[in-house]
């Protein structure tokens, strides 16, 4: 204690809290900066502390990582995109901006998502979030080059539309060009309607012969948050599961699901 600088407790706390010249330059710490320039003993203590902290920082960050951890994380993500035991992790609309834009629609979507997670029947090993993620993965793979049609697309016929009708809420404008192809998703057969609008925006509507309890029966006004630069929406109607993937965000989504067409 003999060589402890004559400084009060708050000064010592401030010295401990500072992590470099930037902090000392904080106007709130002007008294500390003045003391450091006036008191060589205090300045020496400060320097010693900074050097000690630098070594501790280095030791602190030196943590050996178990081998294969990244692979195990990726496997778990692929196997269980949503943990139903953790309701706090259910995807929700992202920000107030969405609420300002779409109002009550986003809330309805969030409720639908929550219901889908909690009401998931045990005999279907799939949640809505998992279905949307699978659809995004398929979309990414189907559209490797944005703007170029996926392979095996065919002209849409009445037969296909009768078997796998496009929801009325989508009511695509004539400017949207469309093709269809067979797909197998979520353990069921169905079709994918690939779409490109006049501005070159792309989307795919997956329509498959299975259902997920708790989903609404029409396209929502606002998409759910997605990944890989895509947004998604999902609903069930007439014993079919619909998952729409749109490259882009809310604006692009509205190109394929015009709000005016939703009641």
């Amino acid at each position: 204690m003999d060589n402890r600088p004559n400084a009060d407790e708050r000064l010592l706390e401030a010295i401990e809290a500072c992590r470099g010249s930037d902090d000392v330059a904080d106007p709130a710490l002007t008294p500390l900066a003045e003391r450091l320039s006036d008191d060589p003993q205090l300045a020496e203590l400060y320097e010693r502390l900074q050097q000690t902290d630098a070594s501790i920082t280095e030791a602190f960050c030196d943590v050996p990582v178990p081998e294969g951890l990244d692979q195990r994380i990726l496997e778990r993500l692929a196997a269980a995109p949503v943990d139903p035991a953790e309701p706090a992790t259910v995807a929700k609309p992202r920000s107030r901006r969405w609420f300002q834009v779409v109002g009550i629609g986003a809330t309805v979507t969030a409720v639908a998502v929550s219901l889908a997670v909690f009401l998931q029947p045990p005999d279907i090993d799939l949640t809505e979030t998992a279905a949307r993620q699978q659809a995004i993965d398929a979309f990414q793979s189907d559209w490797p080059n944005n703007g170029q049609w996926p392979e095996q697309g065919q002209a849409v016929t009445d037969d296909v539309l009768q078997k796998f009708p496009i929801s009325r809420g989508m009511a695509l404008p004539p400017s949207v060009r469309m093709q269809w192809r067979n797909v197998k998703m979520f353990g069921a057969s169905g079709v994918a309607y690939d779409m490109i609008d006049r501005q070159g925006r792309t989307a795919t509507l997956y329509v498959v012969g299975c259902t997920l309890p708790g989903l609404r029966n029409a396209p929502p006004r606002a998409p759910a948050p997605g990944t890989a630069g895509c947004v998604t929406a999902s609903w069930c109607k007439g014993g079919l599961l619909y998952v729409l993937v749109v490259r882009g965000g809310g604006r692009e989504y509205e190109s394929f699901v015009p709000p005016a067409n939703l009641t």
């Binding site: 706390e13 010295i15 070594s55 501790i56 195990r72 994380i73 995109p81 949503v82 992790t89 995807a91």
Partner: protein, 179 residues
């Protein structure tokens, strides 16, 4: 309205940040299995909330925030750590600043484990995430004065466990002059 969200996918985040996330988790939890669970949980939540990530460059900090929340949630189910009687103590600053390689990693973790949770959080934010005291106050929603006080005391505790024991041992190793 243009969508300003970055185009990132979860696999990239895992590849780039799993080491830092694990390290952070280990310093908080003090056990390798717990840290791995916490890391996996962090990326699961990140995957579901990826749309909330605004800037790619803030991804690490965003993951750390998720991790802290996951950890806090898991701790609520456990017995709270007994509060330590922490004193402000600058005497624990070594006369000769140590080199990083001379710091015993195991002892460092043991010292951390003995700290009450809030003090451990502050130290991890300070040393691992390298936050300023202001950033710590913001992240923990705590007054700056409280952060300074707790940070100073937690650092003193850590140094005492890291260096005081070494000095005592080195004293013991000196030849005794008494019979």
């Amino acid at each position: 309205m243009a969508d300003e969200r970055p185009n990132v996918n979860i696999a990239e985040l895992v590849s780039e940040h799993h080491r830092a996330v694990f390290g952070y988790a280990y310093r908080l939890s003090g056990s390798v299995p717990d840290a791995e669970d916490l890391s996996q949980q962090t990326f699961l939540v990140a995957q579901q909330k990826l749309g909330q990530l605004r800037k790619v460059e803030s991804a690490k900090s965003w993951l750390f925030t998720i991790l802290r929340n996951c950890f806090l949630k898991s701790q609520q189910r456990q017995r709270p750590t007994a509060a330590a009687n922490l004193q402000l103590n600058v005497d624990t600053i070594p006369a000769q600043p140590p080199k990083s390689e001379d710091i015993d990693r195991e002892r460092l973790q043991q010292a951390l484990d003995k700290l009450p949770e809030v003090f451990r959080h502050i130290l991890v934010l300070f040393y691992f995430e390298q936050c300023s005291y202001k950033e710590i106050a913001e992240k923990l929603d705590m007054p700056i004065g409280t952060v300074m006080s707790r940070l100073a005391r937690a650092k003193g505790h850590l140094r005492e466990k890291l260096f005081a024991a070494e000095e005592a041992q080195s004293d013991r190793e000196q030849p005794s002059t008494t019979p």
